[in-house]
């Protein structure tokens, strides 16, 4: 961990830290756990060991992070870059964009995996066939809900920039509500697909031909749904802080940053919806 004395606080030089080992430990946890999940079917023992390591690293990472925070170490990064090539750009905004870039890599790999399954699987259902298991009209409505939430999100930021606090709160609440609707409808769809259409991520006895499609479908929409759920946590925080009067004309960067993430999740769905629901093989 690095740090340097930058200012005096009560006569003592205050250490200002901008880095921590714990996010890296949490990332390692993800690496172990997902490797374990990947190995689980072919090498159950290694799989279980890696998953257990992942959970242990996750607990240690989160505990260490919280402990460091409780000790008063500051991770706060504010202000703008003064030197090229990012001169004038907010440090936190650049951080969010770099995170989004990493997410583009992640979803690209996931979608490419889905395309490979589509190309090599023995069976892939045709969206124009009555046998197609997915509910296109319901998910079209859900897509509309997510697009609407992107509009309310950007309007919340616009209202904050103009100092219209009541409008900002209303748009933030609307975005949160629309996001909850989206996830709820997706969960209802999952339940119906499991129990009525027998679409599972693994082979089942009733419709074994759908196993490959099910794997691709649940992997891609599931990871997207998890990202939407993460966005809802951010939106919940924004709503709470907005009602406490934290945001306004001169302080709205948090809304912009969560908004960037939310719009990115919308973009991922813009591709996933046609790929999984509208395009056959």
């Amino acid at each position: 961990m690095e740090g340097h004395a930058t200012e005096h606080h009560g006569g003592e030089p205050r250490e200002e830290h901008h880095s921590s080992i714990w996010p890296f430990v949490v990332a390692l946890a993800g690496g172990f756990a997902f490797s374990g999940l990947g190995l689980f079917r072919s090498e159950p023992l290694y799989g279980v060991v890696l998953i257990a390591l992942g959970i242990a690293f996750l607990v240690a990472g989160i505990a260490g992070w919280i402990l460091q925070d409780l000790q008063g170490v500051s991770f706060e990064i504010r202000g703008r870059f003064e030197e090229p090539p990012f001169a004038g750009i907010s440090r936190r905004k650049l951080g969010m964009w770099l995170f989004i870039v990493s997410e583009i890599f992640f979803f690209s790999g996931l979608i490419a995996g889905g395309l490979a399954l589509r190309a090599h699987g023995e069976h892939w259902p045709d969206p124009s066939s009555p046998e197609f298991p997915l509910n296109i009209p319901l998910t079209a409505v859900n897509t509309f809900i997510l697009i609407t939430s992107s509009l309310t999100m950007v309007e919340a930021l616009h209202a904050a920039q103009q100092g219209k606090v009541a409008q900002m709160r209303a748009f933030l609440a609307a975005t949160l509500a629309l996001g909850v609707f989206f996830v709820s409808i997706q969960l209802i769809e999952y339940w119906k697909l499991f129990n009525e259409e027998f679409l599972t991520p693994w082979p089942n006895l009733v419709r074994p031909e759908l196993a490959t499609f099910g794997t691709a479908f649940y992997a891609q929409t599931g990871f997207h749904g998890a990202h939407v759920t993460g966005g809802l946590l951010g939106l919940g925080y924004l709503n709470a802080m907005a009602w406490k009067g934290r945001y306004g004309k001169d302080n709205h960067e948090a809304i912009e940053l969560v908004g960037l993430y939310w719009h990115f999740v919308d973009i991922v769905w813009i591709f996933l919806f046609p790929l999984m629901y509208l395009i056959g093989r």
């Binding site: 750009i89 296109i136 950007v154 960067e253 908004g259 395009i279």
Partner: protein
Amino acid sequence: MATATHAAPGGAAAVVKELKRPYVLVFAFLAVVTFVEVQIPTLGTALGISAGLQTFFLLVSAAIKAAMVGLYYMHLRYEPRILKLLPLGPLAFVLALLIVVMLH
């Protein structure tokens, strides 16, 4: 276009100009294109449009919709060039992946 000025986020002293941006127009565009996309599997089959052409239309329309969200809702249109270029890096990776998948 209405204009307003305010202090930039992050407490910086710089003053930026806010323009009235076409958020609702972009939303209408996204909604209409999504509606058209949903009709493609049924209409395309009824009209005898090949599966390849349907796929091409759906992917191009998705790319245009994604670009609209990126440019207007994520404000890339108004950002400095270096930030506009940042998301293009992984797009090269996306293209490489697509080519590999298509070749196999």
